[in-house]
């Protein structure tokens, strides 16, 4: 049994799986059910001035029959009175003293408003605060959420205001709806943030109904942009986490969010620098019980790798994430097809022929259809192995280069040294 406990900027939880601030953490009833199911922490649905919500609110994107490949919402922060939420936080904390409860907060960008809400929520015993500078819809039109989060100065200033009074660790939740997330992450750190979390949802329109021509979702025939999350956003989120993790100015722990659906996703985020993860869409799709395999799978993975604590995973792959200019131009892999495993769907052939480098030949050998890679023309792009539906039919194998490794940056500096 590996040790799954984490410590994220002083916030401790029995495992790295937190529910993100979202519909699943709307009430004490839900958060208590989540803790009973095994979730290590919960970021309470964003508290602030209660708002009004619309109907309908959610939409999802299916891909080839797979439901909820991506998820879109136009729901706002909590629509329940602050006092009710605070009372339920007290009750929940009493029942689950060892689980992490983090209060997500969002108020207008005024110093006294931040001071007021921070004091109120810390008084009920939360383990930390998460500043919602990321919500892209609705609240942003009122100058909050992503509207604040897209301006580094506002991120820094508001973080600073919070830190003036906060006694618990402060996490700043960042919006991905920005050109370079490290700019706002650095601003949060300058403002005194103890940690950053990312990503909030991505501006999105889930679809258009081809019969009614309404947006999906729509509210009485009108729609507005929502926030996109779920499995489809994972690569975007993972990159943003990694970019922050390898940025020396973002020297605070990261809470990873974005499309995490299982223990494997969580382990990837942690290897790329996240100290813990937050989950929403997967729980909304399947219910709280999915955490059971998250815990079990992560545990078995760590045991198998001989790793004593999950904290030992954190950041192990960060140094492998680099600039393109630092990649070895002389490294070479080529595709190799195992005709004994191949089922002859020919998807690799047509993918290569139509859209890559035309190096997979179809032929027959004693009446049997076969495929072969012309290695001299293979650029090692991986496309064939990506489209192949059978494990083990196509392997990308390394071909030792006869020339020494050289990156683009090394090459350019060598060329310029000749020019001198």
């Amino acid at each position: 049994m590996a040790d799954l406990r984490i410590d994220l900027a002083g916030i401790k939880s029995p495992n790295p799986f937190w529910l993100a601030s979202a519909p699943p953490t709307n009430s004490g009833y839900q958060v208590q059910r989540a803790f009973e199911a095994g979730w290590g922490g919960a970021v309470w649905k964003t508290l602030g001035e209660p708002i009004l919500n619309v109907s309908s609110r959610f939409a999802a994107v299916s891909f080839n029959g797979q439901r909820v490949a991506g998820f879109n919402n136009i729901e706002l922060i909590t629509d329940r009175p602050l006092e009710v939420n605070l009372q339920e936080i007290i009750e929940t904390k009493k029942k689950f003293p060892n689980h992490a409860i983090i209060a997500s907060l969002m108020v207008e960008p005024q110093q006294e408003k931040w001071h007021e809400i921070v004091k109120k929520v810390e008084a009920v015993g939360v383990d930390g605060l998460e500043l919602n500078f990321g919500c892209p819809h609705g609240m942003a039109e009122r100058g909050m959420g992503a509207a604040s989060g897209q301006v580094p100065e506002l991120v820094e200033k508001q973080t600073h205001w919070v830190k003036e009074v906060a006694r618990t660790p402060v996490i700043v939740k960042l919006t991905p709806n920005i050109t370079d997330i490290t700019m706002t992450a650095e601003a949060a750190v300058r403002g005194g943030a103890d940690a950053v979390s990312m990503i909030n949802t991505i501006n999105s329109l889930a679809g258009v109904d081809l019969d009614s021509w309404n947006t999906v979702p729509h509210v009485g025939g009108k729609g507005s942009h929502g926030g996109y999350c779920g499995p489809a956003v994972k690569p975007i989120a993972l990159n943003m986490v990694a970019e922050c993790a390898r940025n020396t100015f973002v020297n605070v722990p990261i809470s990873g969010i974005g499309g995490i659906s299982n223990w494997q996703d969580a382990a990837e985020f942690m290897l790329m620098g996240a100290t813990g993860v937050q989950v929403c869409t997967a729980a909304m799709h399947h219910g709280f019980s999915i955490v059971e395999d998250m815990i079990d799978g992560l545990n078995n993975y760590l045991d198998e790798k001989g790793i004593a604590s999950v904290m030992d995973l954190v950041g192990q792959s960060v140094q492998r994430y680099s600039n393109w200019g630092d990649l070895d131009l002389n490294y070479k892999v080529v595709a190799e097809i195992n005709n004994d495993v191949c089922i002859n769907c020919n998807k690799c052939h047509i993918a290569c022929e139509d859209t890559s480098h035309q190096c997979i030949d179809l032929y027959t050998e004693s009446g049997r259809p076969m495929l072969k890679v012309r290695e001299q023309d293979c650029v090692g792009c991986n496309l064939c192995s990506i489209v192949c539906p059978v494990d083990g039919a196509i392997s990308m194998v390394e071909r030792k280069s006869t020339i020494a490794p050289m990156t683009w940056n090394e090459r350019q500096s060598l060329i310029s040294s000749f020019a001198r």
């Binding site: 080839n64 029959g65 089922i343 769907c345 020919n346 998807k347 047509i350 179809l362 539906p389």
Partner: protein, 447 residues
């Protein structure tokens, strides 16, 4: 009782639900140069029609199927898919094959119910084609020729068009409304189907040859031949083809309820006869075959189906005479045991009588299913060369010994190869149409 019998003849397999169809369609790999297409005698672009189901393009999906196969709705139900498209599916080697037949039915059912117009008659080219027989081959040829602009007349001896589909394939596999829809598609293109019109009786071969630019002979096959034993004239002795035909015509009778039935022969028609007898209420149905399980010509899935229906199989058993009572009704069947001897001309071991092994079984009905006779006089009426009633053709052009007469379907299929598949007949009909059209086009191109 009658309503129970009617329920027995309702189509057995149910249509996929929308969810089932989408799930299955999304499982298709969309292979390049897909082996399922090659395995389909009509070369339906199968991955394409499946992807169209997945994308919600139902009209396009039905078009893709029906374009390649004018009787694609029937074939979705009667094709031996595990020997054709599904047998070739690459997923046989990894998970399980795509249910292509079921998906094809899902798409064509959509077309049937939405009643969309799939095809249009071509601009009239002034050429007239006569087709003899409105079965799978004839209908397919007619559909294609009409799209090319030919004026097409089909002469059909039966009261309804559809051929094997209307009269020969058991209702619980192929309901009449499916065939009726396919026939209606052809009629909508302006094809004139003259039913109840027997060539050689109502119109002569000479008249047809004189009145039309081209002729397609697609008459299929005839009645089951006599066994050549005593008692065949008794009441209760049926020709399997006629027997199945009666069940297709709606008038289900209770004559067989609780009775014992023997079916002679072990091809697909024998299975049809036996399974119909079970559904008509027969208590005991046995298939008698003079060879063994190994030599039987029925498809494996038909054999399995028959066994599930509780049909008994008596191998190496041949009928010797049918025994009747004073009223002229069947009461028994005298059989004789056989053994397999030396291989005959067709490569199969010949069955030989075991002397003194005669025995009698008590039966109330006998169904004969030992093959079908050929329409020799009709073939000769057109003056066509044939081999034992199988019309001789140039296999690439479907052309007979008379260069304006083409032949396709069961009438050219033959001699020891069992029966043609419906889907093969459909392709041959298309091929005959293309050759006729090609022949018309070529001189004009030269000119």
């Amino acid at each position: 009782m009658t309503s129970q019998l009617q329920r027995n003849f309702v189509e057995m397999t149910s249509r996929m639900t929308k969810n089932e169809a989408l799930e299955e369609a999304n499982r298709c790999l969309y292979c390049y140069d897909a082996p399922c297409i090659t395995a389909c005698p009509t070369s339906i672009p199968i991955p394409n029609f499946i992807k169209k189901i997945a994308s919600g393009n139902m009209k396009g999906s039905a078009m893709t199927i029906m374009e390649a196969n004018p009787i694609g709705a029937s074939c979705a139900r009667v094709c031996p898919t595990e020997e054709l498209c599904e047998g070739a599916c690459v997923l046989n080697s990894s998970t399980k094959p795509i249910k292509i037949g079921h998906l094809q039915r899902y798409a064509t059912d959509w077309a049937m119910e939405s009643d969309v117009e799939l095809f249009k008659k071509g601009q009239t080219n002034g050429q007239k084609v006569a087709i003899i027989g409105a079965g799978p081959a004839g209908l397919s040829a007619a559909r294609e020729l009409s799209r090319f602009g030919y004026s097409v007349t089909i002469f059909e001896a039966e009261a309804k068009a559809g051929g094997l589909g209307s009269y020969g394939i058991v209702s619980f596999r192929l309901p009449n409304d499916v065939v009726d829809w396919e026939v209606a598609q052809v009629v909508k293109l302006g094809v004139d189907i003259k039913t109840n019109t027997t060539v050689g009786v109502d119109i002569s071969a000479e008249e047809i040859l004189a009145q039309y630019d081209s002729v397609i002979l697609a008459v299929g096959m005839g009645a089951v031949p006599n066994l050549g034993i005593n008692g065949e004239e008794l009441a209760g002795v049926h020709d399997a083809i006629e027997f199945v035909k009666h069940t297709k015509m709606g008038a289900l009778t209770e004559d067989l309820v609780g009775k014992r039935v023997a079916v002679i022969g072990a091809g697909n028609t024998a299975i049809d006869g036996a399974t119909c007898a079970v559904r008509l209420g027969a208590e005991q149905v046995d298939i008698l075959y003079r060879r063994t399980e190994k030599e039987m010509t029925a498809y494996q899935f038909e054999y399995e189906f028959a066994k599930q229906d509780g049909i008994g199989f008596k191998w190496l058993t041949a009928p010797k005479q049918i025994i009747g009572d004073e009223a002229g009704k069947v009461v028994g069947l005298e059989c004789v045991k056989m053994q397999l001897g030396k291989a005959g001309a067709d490569g199969r071991q010949r069955p030989e009588v075991i002397k003194g092994s005669e025995f009698v079984i008590e039966v109330d009905a006998v169904i004969k299913a030992i093959g079908q006779t050929r329409f020799v006089s009709l073939i000769e009426g057109f003056g066509l060369q044939h081999t034992n009633g199988v019309v001789d053709i140039d296999e690439t052009t479907m052309q007979t010994s008379n260069d304006k007469v083409f032949a396709c379907g069961d009438v050219v299929f033959g001699n020891g190869q069992g029966e043609a598949m419906v889907v093969t007949a459909a392709q041959q009909g298309k091929d005959a149409a293309y050759v006729i059209h090609e022949r018309l086009r070529k001189p004009s191109e030269i000119a």
